[in-house]
């Protein structure tokens, strides 16, 4: 019988309750725990959804996520998670994740899989063309502005802090001023 940890506890609890024995569940839980995450490697993460900052333990075995659960050590969530936080297992174990760069040509009707190298080169060429065509050294008043007016960016609160810093650095080096993200909406 394939019983999940939670299912096992439920069954055990029901048996104990029915038998009327005043036995603590603790040894049962100590026995049950290794079943799913035995020999698994644990790392901690912070939930990517709302801004509470709940801590989550991710258990992996042979490079695959086998379990995610609330981190009881966190003083913020003390092991609790909501429906979204409880589902982050499915963000990693999900056949619908994009695994390859996709390209849609002008007036094209479908996606084509492309290599990173090809995509990076083509994007860089586009950036340079747009930048060179729209770069303004001075404004109408003759004041120094050094900005690229033909490219805009939105994003992203979904990135890590370090990436946010690096991304603004990248954009401002290109001369962008149309820089926005989720904080404005």
């Amino acid at each position: 019988m394939d019983v999940s940890r939670r299912g096992f506890l439920k069954i055990s609890g029901a048996v104990l309750a029915a038998s009327g024995l005043g036995v603590s569940l603790k040894p049962v839980s100590a026995y049950a725990q290794p079943l799913k995450i035995k020999y698994a490697k644990e790392t901690t993460t912070i939930c990517p959804y709302c801004s509470v900052g709940c801590s989550i333990i991710v258990s992996t075995r042979q490079g695959k996520v086998v379990n995610t659960e609330g981190d009881p050590d966190s003083p913020i969530n003390k092991g609790s998670l909501c429906s979204k936080g409880g589902s982050i297992y499915q963000m990693a174990v999900n056949e619908n994740r994009l695994g390859k760069p996709l390209y849609r040509e002008p007036y094209g009707t479908e996606w084509k899989e492309v290599d990173w190298e090809w995509a990076f080169e083509k994007i860089a060429e586009n950036i340079k063309n747009s930048r060179d065509a729209s770069f303004k050294v001075t404004n109408e008043k003759g004041e120094l502005v050094n900005r690229t007016e033909g490219i805009a960016s939105v994003g992203s609160a979904a990135m890590d802090l370090e990436e946010c810093f690096t991304y603004q650095k990248f954009l401002r080096s290109l001369g962008l001023v149309y820089i926005e993200h989720q904080a404005r909406i």
């Binding site: 790392t43 993460t45 912070i46 990517p48 709302c50 900052g53 991710v58 992996t60 003083p75 913020i76 969530n77 998670l81 909501c82 429906s83 936080g85 589902s87 982050i88 499915q90 990693a92 619908n96 994740r97 994009l98 695994g99 390859k100 760069p101 390209y103 849609r104 007036y107 860089a124 586009n126 340079k128 747009s130 050294v137 008043k141 004041e143 120094l144 502005v145 690229t148 033909g150 490219i151 805009a152 994003g155 992203s156 609160a157 802090l161 370090e162 990436e163 946010c164 810093f165 690096t166 991304y167 603004q168 401002r172 080096s173 001023v177 820089i179 926005e180 989720q182 404005r184 909406i185």
Partner: protein, 831 residues
């Protein structure tokens, strides 16, 4: 957030207004419930709909969307009329005693607007203080002078009597008084009240002023800086605090340094303009350090590859008054201004107000880069509903990135807590972390500029990027730990520095040493720091956001060794206001900081000088005190009730001015586009008779760009619905579960009707007004009936319906330009 999530447990009264934490920040309710269970705290919930939070509240008061200032203005009147304000706090820690220019006029004496309105903009010449010859602001410590801030505040809200407020808001009078009475009970030193808000307050044309009104209440009641108090901005994304801190907005560089404008040609001119000055002799005026932070930021961009003045010159500048905010971007895009566009970790085709305009705008581009975990309505816009791919020129790159458990890095929650997360597994396929992707693109751009002629190459060629290395496979591996150190900051040369607060004592640093905190940053280019408020997050002890210590020495749940909080690991900001001018905690049972005879203990003190030093505690304000009178905003130094742009009433019952006079109207010639239409602006539009508000459910996040692809979540909340009252459903012949069309002048969405007593019709000045609500998590990409091509990803559990934002208008708050998605007009038609 001034305080932090765990601190909710220290409150006596919790006002939930402009948010629904039980659904949208569910784990926060652990601490709200603990306050109820352990302290007998009371929950007050004010919302147009009886939400899950309302179900847990002791008092629920319904309110018509967009009338929060009227509701709260009435509370200000109640507090002042009944002498329930915290007198000593108000006198010492706010600008209540400041004397205002006698020429300043309140809306009650000036046809509903403040003095100085010129067209759609205020001339603020009268929004000033009276000063003496020495430049010091004139004050009346007794608060009796008719021109003092306190008397003006009293006069402004004397118009907000409970009868009138009830007519405007639709809140029954007894419910208004119940909320006022319970919340005002926190004006005593031994009581604490906290307010929890989210997008229910920001997404209005008066969004900033909604929050200002509550800040005024919290200051009157002495609730800022104390445990269990504060104003809690509960943000919608896990790192939207961090991304804002790091300047991913047009108007700020990292650390809230205003983006330079063209009229400031030199770093010297920029610093002079942006560094506030004060003549108040005891004020610390922390922003006097601005030049240290701007210099250190410029160093984090270009290192020693350019002088500070050269670095400043290379940075892009705005024209004076130029606005490049979200609504403006899509407006300009629709008009063809941009050839290129990055939608990085975003889905504007569903998240942007007036999504039909956004989707049309994407078709005007030459190219777009969309970085995401899943296929989405933005990357695939060209094959969306009503689109003919053969007519859309936009070249699109959809790049797969790593999820949060497939890379490492940190993020900042709403409580300003920076926590580290670790890589658990590799991303799927050849997907890469965002940091790797942007590095590779940057290097390719730099390579092109090195080889070919092009526009102003210097900023690209001189930019530093020491954030990783090439792997054996030739691919660049971005290392967030190196960036964390860059954000913290370094000494760039050997330097002897005077110890902050210890005149004449020095400490020596070597080139490459980490900067201990921002107090050590320099304005001469000898230090770098990517974001000064994060300075102190990395030290010789390592990356402090990785810490997992569980000590709680104060017993009030600060957990100072769990991760790291900006600024300087302070958990409750403005905590200098939690003690009296002699340094004694207002409430010793809930002390945030206290003086042990020689030093402060507890939280990292904020603005607290030695006890009795006379230093006012709000050190980020030039005059050192909090602003009841706030002349910095675009739409008035006090909040005033204005109707939402699209509204169900003919007149503003408060004044002759119907809507916020300084909002940017996109329906005016030369401003917006042919697609920008509104309803019910001048007069009610019978075609769109119902108020509509957007909101969230627990099971989805944002546009559902991630959660719609997770089958557990999609099963629980499978599609678009519209929630409406039993009364409205009866009027329209709609049954629970019927398919209906919700329509605005900008678009329509098919929904399942949820007929529920959670909405009740409002009685607005004798008229019955209905409000409906819709979630904004849906989009066509995960639906069953769209066209699928071979190779397309197909959701395991399909969802139903398209984006709520197909209905919302292009109109924004007067200060922030955040769209008004919480109050607009629609019709509901049975299908």
């Amino acid at each position: 957030m001034t305080n932090h999530w765990v601190d909710f447990r220290n409150a006596d009264v919790i006002l939930i207004m402009g948010s629904n934490p039980a659904s949208n920040h569910p784990v926060s309710f652990k601490w709200i419930q603990e306050a109820v269970d352990k302290r007998g705290a009371r929950i007050l919930c004010v919302d147009p709909r009886f939400t899950q939070s309302a179900a847990k509240a002791h008092v629920y008061a319904p309110i018509r969307s967009g009338t929060d200032i009227a509701f709260l203005g009435g509370m200000i009147k109640y507090i002042i009329d009944n002498n329930l304000y915290f007198d000593e706090y108000v006198k010492n820690y706010t600008n209540a005693s400041f004397l205002v220019n006698p020429a300043f006029k309140l809306p009650g004496d000036n046809n509903g607007v403040f003095s100085g309105l010129e067209g759609a903009k205020y001339n603020k010449d009268t929004w000033t203080y009276q000063t003496g010859k020495d430049g010091v602001i004139l004050k009346d410590a007794t608060l009796q002078d008719p021109n003092c801030v306190f008397q003006l505040l009293k006069k402004q809200y004397s118009r907000y009597d409970v009868e009138l407020v009830s007519k405007i808001t639709g809140t029954p009078k007894d419910k208004l008084l119940e909320v006022y009475k319970e919340y005002a009970s926190t004006g005593r030193p031994d009581r604490a009240g906290v307010e929890l808000y989210a997008m229910g307050w920001t997404q209005h044309t008066v969004g900033t002023q909604n929050i200002r009104t509550m800040c005024i209440i919290q200051l009157l009641l002495g609730n800022i800086g104390i445990a269990g108090g504060g104003v809690a901005a509960m943000r919608g994304e896990s790192n939207v605090q961090g991304s804002t801190d790091h300047g991913l907005l047009f108007h700020i560089w990292p650390g809230y340094l205003g983006t330079p404008t063209a009229s400031l040609p030199t770093l010297k001119a920029y610093n002079e303009k942006r560094t506030p000055k004060t003549a108040e002799k005891n004020s610390l005026n922390w922003w006097k350090n601005f030049p240290k932070y701007s210099a250190s930021f410029l160093r984090s961009m270009f290192g020693l590859n350019a002088s500070l003045e050269e670095a400043y010159a290379m940075m892009p500048k705005l024209d004076d008054g130029m606005n490049c905010s979200w609504l403006q971007i899509f407006n300009e895009m629709y008009k063809g201004k941009f050839t290129g566009f990055f939608a990085w970790g975003m889905n504007p085709a569903c998240s942007g107000a007036h999504s039909n305009k956004v989707r049309a705008a994407l078709g005007k581009l030459d190219w777009m880069v969309n970085v995401n975990l899943f296929d989405n309505e933005t990357g695939s816009f060209w094959r969306g509903p009503g689109m003919d791919p053969k007519k859309i020129k936009t070249e699109v790159f959809m790049l797969p990135c790593a999820s949060s458990i497939e890379k490492e890095g940190s993020l900042a929650n709403s409580g300003r807590l920076q926590q580290w997360r670790y890589k658990a597994v590799n991303p799927p396929g050849v997907a890469l972390p965002d940091g790797d992707i942007m590095s590779e693109i940057f290097f390719k751009v730099k390579e092109l500029y090195a080889k070919q002629p092009g526009a102003f190459k210097d900023p690209i060629m001189k930019l530093t990027w020491p954030y990783g290395k090439k792997t054996v496979a030739g691919h660049f591996h971005y290392d967030p730990r190196m960036v964390a150190a860059e954000i913290n900051g370094f000494f760039l040369e050997d330097k002897k520095v005077e110890i902050p607060n210890k005149k004449g004592e020095f400490k020596e640093f070597k080139k490459g040493d980490l900067v201990p905190t921002f107090a050590w940053l320099q304005d001469d280019g000898s230090t770098s720091s990517g974001c000064w408020i994060y300075s102190g997050s990395v030290s010789d002890k390592g990356i402090l956001p990785m810490r997992r210590g569980l000590k709680d020495p104060t017993g009030i749940g600060l957990y100072p060794e769990w991760a790291w909080s900006w600024p300087v690991n302070r958990r409750i900001i403005y905590n200098g206001a939690s003690v009296d001018p002699n340094g004694k905690p207002w409430d010793p049972k809930r002390a945030v900081i206290s003086w042990d005879g020689t030093k402060w203990v507890g939280d990292v003190p904020d603005g607290a000088g030695d006890p009795g030093s006379g230093r006012p505690p709000f050190i980020m304000k030039p005059d050192g005190v909090a602003s009841l009178f706030g002349p910095g905003l675009a739409d008035g130094p006090f909040p005033e009730h204005y109707e939402p742009l699209e509204c169900p009433v003919e007149k503003n019952l408060m004044s002759p001015q119907k809507s916020n006079p300084v909002i940017k109207r996109f329906d005016k010639p030369g401003v917006g586009s042919d697609m920008d239409v509104y309803s019910g602006v001048g007069s009610c539009d019978p075609r769109y008779p119902f108020i509509c508000s957007t909101y969230r459910v627990s099971e989805h996040w944002q546009t559902g760009v991630l959660t719609r692809w997770c089958p557990w979540l999609a099963e629980m909340q499978p599609g678009m619905f519209v929630e409406m009252s039993v009364e409205l459903a009866r009027e329209k012949g709609i049954m629970n579960g019927d398919k209906v069309i919700v329509k605005s002048p900008r678009g329509q969405v098919e929904c399942t009707a949820i007929v529920t007593p959670r909405f009740k019709p409002f009685n607005i000045d004798g008229n019955t007004i209905h409000e409906v609500g819709i979630p904004w998590h849906f989009g066509w990409i995960t639906t069953k009936d769209r066209k699928y091509q071979p190779g397309d990803k197909k959701a395991e559990v399909f969802t139903f319906g398209d984006a709520a934002n197909l209905l919302t208008p292009t109109i924004g708050d007067a200060n922030t330009m955040i769209p008004e998605s919480k109050a607009f007009m629609v019709n509901v038609i049975k299908k």
